[in-house]
């Protein structure tokens, strides 16, 4: 999955403007509501759900990628 592309699409921003180090709050669209939309969009697209510890640990797109990678490993 092109995670950066997906994040850019959810927030309607240019993909070039973000990278794996990008964190919640780094651009205005990634506020509380944006965060909730991002996670629920991922849950819907990938048919997964985030638990509380996972949600709490997301401090960058890299963190999100690690969680998604581990979830894909679990399901494969």
């Amino acid at each position: 999955m092109d995670l950066l592309g997906f994040v850019a699409e959810v927030f309607s921003i240019e993909k070039d403007s973000i990278n794996l180090e990008t964190a919640p709050g780094d651009f205005p669209e990634w506020d509380s509501l944006g965060h909730l939309n991002l996670l629920s969009s991922l849950e819907e697209k990938l048919n997964i759900s985030f638990d509380m510890d996972e949600t709490m640990s997301i401090q960058s797109i890299q963190d999100l990628k690690k969680i998604l990678d581990s979830k894909c490993m679990e399901s494969s």
């Binding site: 309607s12 964190a23 205005p28 509380s32 509501l33 965060h35 909730l36 996670l39 949600t55 709490m56």
Partner: protein, 472 residues
């Protein structure tokens, strides 16, 4: 005239913590030094109105209180604003803009001990808070020193804020609610922790724990977000959190009770008010549980009257326009030809509701069509104007909807396309175009194609029809 907020700053022990940000821990003394330097920096500026880019940091607050001391009028501009100059230009030659470009010069300015809270130049007016008018144009709400002081005293009386409290401040300070919390904390001598919303949950809980924070001030959507994403983790702090103040947007009784049950030891206080009449009523979720669906009772110094269409005072439980009188009223609009409407000494709010036999106010509807997105007002007319300017849109309309997955309120736009070949790509196209002119929170989350926008005979958009379409 003595400025009580500066008196409070001067009276606090020097090493007491004042402000905690991502990068800095600032004591009351550190802040007084910065305040002094800011006064020096502004000393040779002749402009009467100081427009401050409202980034959440110590420089912004120092500029704000420097204005108080110097008899200038402060006005915060939302840092997300696409066009800050349109605010500054309102004051013509009398407008000065302060942003992060000035911080270095402020730091390098002279330090002179502030020995008193007396104003250097007399001015009864303190500040301008900008709200969004019905067509999206900024509307300056002028507030006096007397009003903001009395309101802060009355808020603190209701919530029971103490000088030992440590507040997690989650909101923008360009908005009435966020700014008033700063004044409440300073008046009491509390510590403020600046957070930029709940986007970074780890940071929120880290600060809550590390600094043993006792107060949270936020919009209802913030607490909904917190409880939805972190389940009931907030209950780990139920003995620690003394006060939560909520406001700026409605909250259902179910959500109020849910939060109250999660935090039974916390005074959860929710207010109803306008920028023009801040904190007109207060509701304490546990003490006022009998009338949990109300917005509470008038706060100290405030009276409410309900007026019917003929201008007569309504009886108990009879709906009409909510009108407010009291020490919390603004001093008028500025930089606009718009003037407020009054019923005798009562400000006509344009909101509708009723008072019950015990004096609780029940809010029913807004007269205008403003949308409320997590406490931020968005004009559908402004949004529709920009959408209708897009070459491939013939007509458009916007409504508030509740996201079925997240439960939060967001904007949905309906558009009539002039070019149906764009059917697959129009949504992103529209968002990208709108972003050039509008702040991100005004951009519709969802956009749908529709054959025709339902309108009344006189051309008014029938938003309720669209809401019915949405509900189906």
């Amino acid at each position: 005239m003595k400025i009580q907020f500066i008196e409070s700053l001067l009276n606090k022990p020097k090493n007491a913590p004042f402000l905690i940000t991502d990068n800095n821990n600032i004591s009351y003394n550190d802040f007084l030094i910065l305040l002094s330097k800011t006064i020096s920096y502004l000393n040779n500026k002749t402009e009467k109105y100081v427009f401050i880019n409202a980034e959440k940091n110590e420089y912004t607050l120092a500029t704000y209180f420097a204005c108080f001391k110097m008899g200038k009028i402060a006005a915060f501009i939302d840092p997300l604003s696409k066009f800050p100059e349109k605010f500054v230009d309102l004051a013509g030659k009398d407008g000065l803009y302060i942003s992060n470009k000035d911080y270095k010069k402020i730091s390098d300015s002279d330090y002179v001990t502030i020995s008193s809270a007396e104003q250097l130049e007399h001015n009864e007016m303190a500040e301008i808070v900008f709200t969004t008018g019905t067509t999206g144009e900024p509307k300056g709400v002028l507030l006096s020193h007397k009003t903001i002081l009395t309101t802060a005293i009355n808020i603190n009386k209701f919530t029971g804020l103490k000088n030992t409290d440590i507040e997690m401040h989650m909101m923008p300070i360009s908005h009435s609610f966020g700014l008033a919390r700063i004044r409440c904390c300073i008046l009491e001598g509390c510590t403020i922790i600046f957070q930029n919303g709940f986007g970074n949950l780890a940071s929120f809980f880290n600060s809550l724990e590390k600094y043993n924070a006792t107060v949270i001030s936020t919009v209802p959507a913030g607490m909904q977000f917190l409880t939805k994403l972190t389940k009931n983790k907030i209950t780990d702090y139920k003995s620690q959190i003394r006060i939560i103040e909520l406001g700026s947007s409605p909250m259902s009784s179910k959500e109020k009770l849910l939060l109250s049950n999660l935090l039974p030891e916390t005074d959860i206080c929710m207010h109803y008010g306008l920028t023009e009449a801040s904190r007109s009523t207060f509701l304490n979720f546990s003490k006022d549980v009998k009338y949990i669906s109300s917005v509470g009772k008038p706060n100290i110094g405030t009276e409410i009257s309900i007026i019917d269409e003929k201008g007569n005072k309504c009886k108990e439980n009879q709906s009409g326009e909510i009108c407010i009188k009291g020490t919390n009223l603004f001093s008028g609009y500025i930089f606009t030809e718009k003037s407020p409407s009054y019923y005798n000494e009562y400000l006509k709010t344009g909101d509708y509701g009723y008072l019950n036999k015990d004096g609780y106010l029940f809010f029913e509807a807004r007269k205008d069509e403003m949308m409320n997105i997590s406490g931020k007002k968005v004009s559908p007319l402004e949004l529709e104007k920009y959408m209708n300017d897009i070459s491939f849109i013939e007509d458009s309309a916007c409504i508030e909807i509740q996201n079925r997955k997240t439960g939060l309120v967001e904007i949905k736009a309906f558009v009539v396309l002039s070019d149906n070949s764009l059917i697959d790509s129009f949504k992103n196209e529209i968002k990208i175009i709108l972003k050039k002119n509008m702040e991100y929170y005004k951009i519709p989350t969802t956009i749908a194609n529709i054959g025709i926008i339902p309108r009344s005979q006189n051309g008014k958009i029938l938003r309720n029809k669209l809401k019915e379409v949405e509900a189906c």
